[in-house]
């Protein structure tokens, strides 16, 4: 899952970036509203974490601009402004959630997870595909009750496919949601990641969960393609 963090405090931006990356998110950061607005219009983010009092362009203007341009990424406002008026104004301008500083990092993570699920129309944190269970809350994967250990990026790939189970997901979409601006994915990086993921989640004697749709992308489902 890909997150854009627009925050003017360098120290907060750095620690949140580290925490979110370690949690398996692809993270892009912006130090001011103008840069954040540019990034948000350039990449398909699942969640945008947005400060309000920003240099160049303030957070509410960023939010208004995004909604006016029909960019439907989930937006979580992260700010020190705690009045009811501020919260109401932010939510009414199109924010999906509002978190006041200071906050618990786990709460921020939980809200980003919830927003990610909501963005894909999924309510439950547990997604089941046949014998395969993906728990987006604990970020664990089980097959037939057995825990499968996945590195963060492979988990992110599986979670993205699981959130859109049964749907064809293109390579471009995978690249856009799994990799951040730091990574320049090679032409076959998605295929390689899919290959590695299949080896870990597919049963030895059964069909693969990930089906290749030639020329279109991949589908995660329990049945035969």
């Amino acid at each position: 899952m890909r997150v854009l963090l627009i925050e003017d405090s360098e120290r907060l931006r750095r620690s949140l970036e580290i925490g979110l990356r370690r949690s398996g998110y692809a993270v892009d950061v912006a130090a001011d509203g103008a840069q954040g607005l540019w990034s948000a219009q350039s990449n398909p983010y699942d969640v945008i974490v947005l400060d309000l009092m920003l240099p160049e362009v303030d957070g509410l203007t960023v939010l208004q601009t995004l909604r006016r341009k029909e960019i439907n990424s989930q937006v979580l406002i992260l700010t020190a402004k705690d009045s009811v008026e501020d919260r109401v104004r932010g939510l009414r301008l199109g924010a999906d959630d509002y978190l006041i500083k200071p906050f618990a990092f786990d709460e921020l993570l939980a809200r980003i997870e919830a927003l990610t699920r909501r963005g894909h129309g999924v309510r439950s944190p547990q997604i089941t595909i046949g014998q395969l269970q993906v728990d987006t809350a604990s970020r664990t994967v089980r097959r037939g009750g057995e825990v499968i250990d996945l590195p963060p990026r492979e988990y992110a790939l599986l979670e993205f496919l699981a959130l859109r189970k049964g749907q064809v997901v293109s390579r471009t979409e995978i690249e856009g949601h799994i990799y951040d601006e730091r990574v320049e994915p090679a032409s076959n990086v998605v295929d390689a990641a899919i290959y590695a993921l299949r080896r870990k989640i597919d049963p030895a004697d059964g069909p693969s969960y990930i089906h290749t749709r030639r020329g279109m992308g991949y589908t995660l489902s329990a049945g035969l393609a």
Binding site: L12, A31, P102, F103
Partner: protein, 500 residues
């Protein structure tokens, strides 16, 4: 509870009643006097008529020929009138039959002085009597015909005294009716006046009630309300103007207070959020020693930033509570300015900025040196910090009779005239974002607070060319008596000027 409306109605009603009563009494007394005078004239006329019945015969004898038919009122039994005729020396000539041998007494003047008086009549009715002199006419007859006849003799040209009394019941009834009518009229007039006054006073005081109602509805959420001035009566316009001024000041103070609270929250929430996130991420994903060391340094920076904010807030609180101690000593102004200037230079000028320090007067002032240094350091740091690349910072001074004015000017590309009134507010910054860990937004607030304590006048101005200037008027002979700050709000030249 005192009420202007009730007081006006009561007092004006009282005066209306008193006026009506006095007018009624005056009218009554005048009318009574006129009626009595008329009554007395009537009595006198009747007395003269009776007296015309007295004649002096040719021999000097007095003769009284009374016609009962012409004047039956002196004969009747029921409600009669009375008279007595006397010679001046006291001899009674005649009396009405109605007296039945009694006399009309109780005159206020001794007999035979002319007078008028009230008396109870013989039948018990209240009466009024008159005593007058009437000259006796001579009968044109031959004196020799009557010579030697018995009777009272008087010389030619003599007079008689007649006393005549009549009932004044009818007069008293008229006066009583008049008095009752006047009292009733006074009461009705008073009642009418009170009703008219009530209506009029309510109508006249309606704008005052409106102001009161509007003032009652004003609370902390409606400080933007203003009283209408143009539609108010002339007498209320100054009050409404003053109330509007007061509301403006309260609204401004509330705004500053809200901004202060919001800014304090933001200034402290952000570093706390930084610290908490740093700690939580570090605990969750402990890294190698090098990264841990970097995070400790970040935590230390955050703690220092928070300490700076808290120290500045405490210093402000000490100034406002009057707990800031002053250590007054003779200070060489030139040396202090040069030292502060050198310290700023030592920190390194931002690239592309030219700085110029003019000659500072070699003046000895009595002040708190550390607070003065703090003021000048803040102002110079701001000048250097906010001057754009390619800009200038100029510091100059002028000696005046009672003070030295230090001017710190810098080229500026951010501040507008509207910003000047906010410059000395705690946490106010041109850029609302808090991405600047160097400036806490409390420096100028501290400058203002210290300036108040040191009786230093600080004024800021922005000229059309964009030069921002801070003028610091330092008294050369400070009295350090308590004084209240005065703020000027005109935007361009003298906004916010802080006089201590």
């Amino acid at each position: 509870m005192k009420s202007i409306q009730r007081a006006l109605i009561f007092k004006l009603g009282f005066w209306a009643f008193a006026l009506a009563l006095l007018t009624g009494i005056g009218f009554y007394l005048y009318t009574r006097s006129a009626l009595l005078s008329q009554f007395d004239h009537s009595l006198a006329a009747k007395a003269r008529t009776v007296a015309t019945q007295v004649k002096r015969e040719g021999d000097g004898r007095i003769e009284f020929e009374f016609s009962k038919e012409a004047m039956p009122e002196f004969q009747r039994v029921f409600h009669p009138e009375y008279f007595q005729l006397w010679l001046p020396e006291g001899t009674q000539i005649a009396a009405s039959k109605s007296l039945r041998g009694t006399s009309l007494g109780n005159a206020p003047e001794p007999f035979p002085t002319e007078c008028v008086w009230n008396l109870p009549l013989r039948d018990g009715r209240p009466g009024r009597a008159i005593r007058i002199w009437v000259r006796v006419p001579d009968e044109p007859s031959d004196e020799a015909d009557f010579k030697g006849l018995p009777g009272l003799h008087v010389p030619r040209g003599a007079s008689v005294v007649i006393t005549l009394a009549a009932s004044r019941t009818e007069l008293d009834d008229q006066l009583g009716t008049l008095l009752s009518s006047l009292l009733l009229a006074s009461a009705v007039l008073t009642l009418g006046a009170i009703l008219c006054l009530t209506w009029t006073i309510r109508r006249v005081l309606r704008p005052l009630h409106q102001v009161g109602d509007q003032a009652t509805r004003i609370d902390a959420t409606s400080l933007d309300h203003r009283f209408p001035v143009d539609t108010m009566p002339l007498e209320l316009q100054p009050i409404c103007n003053r109330l509007n001024d007061l509301l403006s000041r309260i609204e401004s103070a509330f705004g500053r207070q809200k901004r202060f609270a919001s800014n304090v929250a933001h200034e402290l929430r952000t570093p706390i959020a930084e610290l908490r996130s740093l700690a939580e991420v570090s605990i969750k994903w402990p890294d190698d020693a090098e990264q841990s060391s970097q995070r400790f340094h970040e935590a230390l920076d955050i703690a220092r930033q928070m300490q700076t904010i808290v120290d500045a807030l405490l210093a402000l609180a000490r100034c406002e509570d009057g707990r800031q101690m002053l250590s007054l000593d003779p200070v060489n102004l030139r040396q202090v300015v040069n030292d502060v200037w050198a310290a700023q230079q030592a920190r390194g000028l931002p690239p592309g900025i030219d700085a110029q320090l003019d000659e500072i007067p070699d003046t000895i002032i009595t002040t708190d040196k550390s607070l003065l240094i703090s003021i000048l350091s803040n102002l110079l740091a701001n000048a250097f910090g906010y001057t754009p690349a390619g800009g200038f910072v100029i510091c100059s001074a002028h000696q005046h009779e009672s003070n030295v004015t230090l001017s710190i000017s810098n080229s500026n590309d951010q501040l507008q005239a509207d910003d000047l009134p906010h410059l000395f507010e705690p946490f106010w910054r041109k850029n609302p974002a808090r991405n600047d860990a160097v400036h806490s937004g409390l420096g100028l607030a501290l400058v203002a607070a210290y300036a108040r304590l040191l009786q230093i006048e600080v004024a800021v101005a922005l000229d059309d060319a964009g030069w921002f200037q801070v003028r610091v008027a330092i008294p050369t002979q400070s009295t350090h008596s308590p004084a209240k700050p005065v703020e000027e709000t005109s935007a361009q030249e003298s906004a916010p000027k802080i006089i201590c």
